[in-house]
Symmetry: C3
Subunit: 348 residues, 3 copies
Amino acid sequence: MKLSELARILGAELHWPNGSQAEDPRIDGVGPIQDSGPGHVTFLTSPQYARYLSDTRASAVIVGSATADVAIPQLVHANPYWAFAKATQVFFEPRAARPGISQRADIAASASLGAEVSIYPFVCVDEGAKIGDRVVLYPGVFVGADAVIGDDSVIHANAVLESDSCLGERTIVHAGVVIGGDGFGFAPGPGGLAKIAQSGRVTVDDDVEIGANSNIDRGALADTSIGRGTKIDSQVQIGHNVVVGQHCMICGMTAIAGSGKLGNGVLVAGHSAVSNHCEVGDGAKVGGMTGISKNAPAGGEYLGFPSMPAAEWRREQARLRRLPKLERRVKELEKTIERLLGNQSSGT
Amino acid sequence: MKLSELARILGAELHWPNGSQAEDPRIDGVGPIQDSGPGHVTFLTSPQYARYLSDTRASAVIVGSATADVAIPQLVHANPYWAFAKATQVFFEPRAARPGISQRADIAASASLGAEVSIYPFVCVDEGAKIGDRVVLYPGVFVGADAVIGDDSVIHANAVLESDSCLGERTIVHAGVVIGGDGFGFAPGPGGLAKIAQSGRVTVDDDVEIGANSNIDRGALADTSIGRGTKIDSQVQIGHNVVVGQHCMICGMTAIAGSGKLGNGVLVAGHSAVSNHCEVGDGAKVGGMTGISKNAPAGGEYLGFPSMPAAEWRREQARLRRLPKLERRVKELEKTIERLLGNQSSGT
Amino acid sequence: MKLSELARILGAELHWPNGSQAEDPRIDGVGPIQDSGPGHVTFLTSPQYARYLSDTRASAVIVGSATADVAIPQLVHANPYWAFAKATQVFFEPRAARPGISQRADIAASASLGAEVSIYPFVCVDEGAKIGDRVVLYPGVFVGADAVIGDDSVIHANAVLESDSCLGERTIVHAGVVIGGDGFGFAPGPGGLAKIAQSGRVTVDDDVEIGANSNIDRGALADTSIGRGTKIDSQVQIGHNVVVGQHCMICGMTAIAGSGKLGNGVLVAGHSAVSNHCEVGDGAKVGGMTGISKNAPAGGEYLGFPSMPAAEWRREQARLRRLPKLERRVKELEKTIERLLGNQSSGT
């Protein structure tokens, strides 16, 4: 692909070195700025990598704004990180799934399969399940009774979709994911812990992606639901009755406890948690290793456990680092006072 | 089912509105207080939901003690949360498992199968394994050599029970669980880390439930064991040689490190950890995001890392929030002293 | 096996009780010091267990240095923990894998299989995959297209090796592990989060072991790689483009975020995290529940979040425990000052 063609696809403006158009180079891939070679387009989205720009062997670079003395063509885009993402899609050739339905898959009589599905060996689709058009089910996937998978979704190997779960269109479920296992609800009483029947479902909207070995538990009385376009990393746990809004990002090893609620556009960094019944508002950012222990209003940034606004947490951390100094200041005061008192008593 | 019949099953006392028995309504489900409709029994176990009671459209409510001016019949039970749990069981109709043994399952010649088992396609049962009566093995389950599964247990899709593992009766193992993988034991030496053979087993007692994608590692020399009636949430990790007592609850994303020990009736909240060789006593409560770093005596409540009694942790958190004030007080003292010293020197 | 033969294998020096060789006992297993019986060799690697030495019923003990008044033969080794590990290997008889290739496995025509492989039912090996000699694939394993598994590796049930992933020789992958799922990379833009194509691979070097339900995500542009001899516990998450060195140990419920880097011989304790792009130097030790939030130089020990040298963290914890005292000291100063000021004003 010619560079000018790529610029057109990305909606980027092309700045030629020294202002004059040279040859239109052929681009065949995307690479990191340090390791790119001829034919690669690279990208500059963080100022800390700017120093590599003069030495890169890439044929072009995606930037947020053009710089004067750059030796290679620049693709200028107001959102260079997004343009970079788009570029990786342009050059990525996903492997074609094996067409058709394996004789070694087990499809229940009452299940319905869409057109052009790809079903690998050892897939089991239970009674009443509905599989949309062009869905890919990799080996070992189990689709429980009456579960629904929307068109163009891809379910990777050994993922499990328990009965009644409902996935939208273009969802991507990675290997080992479990959707619709029982939520964790028990009441102590005579003879031990009585199980609260988990009779809700899991509903996952269109364009959601769920990373390897994550799980989403089914609701107790109501449903657990994940909004359109939300992306969930690997090893994330989402408890029963949780409601996650649209276009959220939930990073690895994070747990959203039962009945937690995330608005739209929420970012939860890695190894964090949201406590039972807590709400995180639209557009809020939850930092790493943070435990949201009370409602976190929209738009804020939160850190710590107990959770607090990030700026407050940072000030508290600074104060903790100043504790040795505070202790010394108090010691100093004590000495001065002692001296003063000594002076006084010797003075009287 | 008539309400009076439900009251009888739950062992609850029926209080009619205005003290006089009206019609005995038909109940066909359980619902949350805000979203219930006619035919639902709802429940009130937390005072914060009491305000919804006047508006609920439910036909009856489970409560801990009767209130005078409630328009619907009240089911009074000393343990309303437990009565609610029981009610969910009354109205929950679990899906019947597919009867019989799939021709597409692989059962070793020396394995033994109980009566009325349900074995789905792509299940593999290895040599010497013993499967009890009425056990359900969903698709993709692997039961290793000489493993034992007690009567009436249900193992969900793609769960793995490694060789020699032993499950009691009525256990529920959710999808993706791994029981009996090697514990993590290595000794540094010449040529790298030497593996300590993990020759113990995992034993899981009756009525235990294990959530999706959790795992319990086999012991090194002794066994890892989980006591009767204990409930384990999703994404929990239990290391080798851990001993968990009876009727514990271990919430999601929690790790119990090697040789940790939990007594009976212990509650561990989510995203927590128990360090190697640490013991948590009977009835203790471990809060969320807590790292038990030394023994936690019975009956206590613990928080923080390093762990401490919860009351102490809360006081420490309050003190941290007061740090800005403490700094100001020290500053104030310093100014006063300076002034005093100034007075003194000017006074002498 | 005679004890003298075991001493020879371990490279340990044999100290007989009272300095004189008695009978050469037969040893048939390894046991913990409290629970061993005749025929067992036990070990003493921690002084806290020394008190059990006089009462142990074991036939011999592995120690770091001989003690005078021990009634049983002592195997003296400079690295007793390593000698213990070796001893467990001597007496461990791993179960033989089922020989041959199950008729119920699904092997793509273009896949290549080494000599003496053991392939269980319901294994699926995709096009172009290369399986080395003596490799064992347990039930439900999926090996993606063009993936490579080195000689003598063992992949446990339902583990998934996505396309292009590459495992070295003698690797052990436990049940439920996912290697090569997509990394977590998205760029916000018009219409939601645009996926950054994850076109890198995962490469895992020789002698690596990966615990149950862990996962290693494939790289975005470059590869994710795990160095020779590194051991990864259960429920660990390793993000895209992470580079882990040789002979590291990464304990359970730990997450290494995208582009994190671990040197050689790094130890990361349980329930910890390394933030994006952070580096942990050779031989560093990361404590439990720690979040590495900036580069952690080689050889150091780190704790806390934000992370700091362990000694600093411990001092800070001590200071936090002293906060009540500090508050009282400030209160005392305030009173004294007030009294002083009172004296002064009454004195003038």
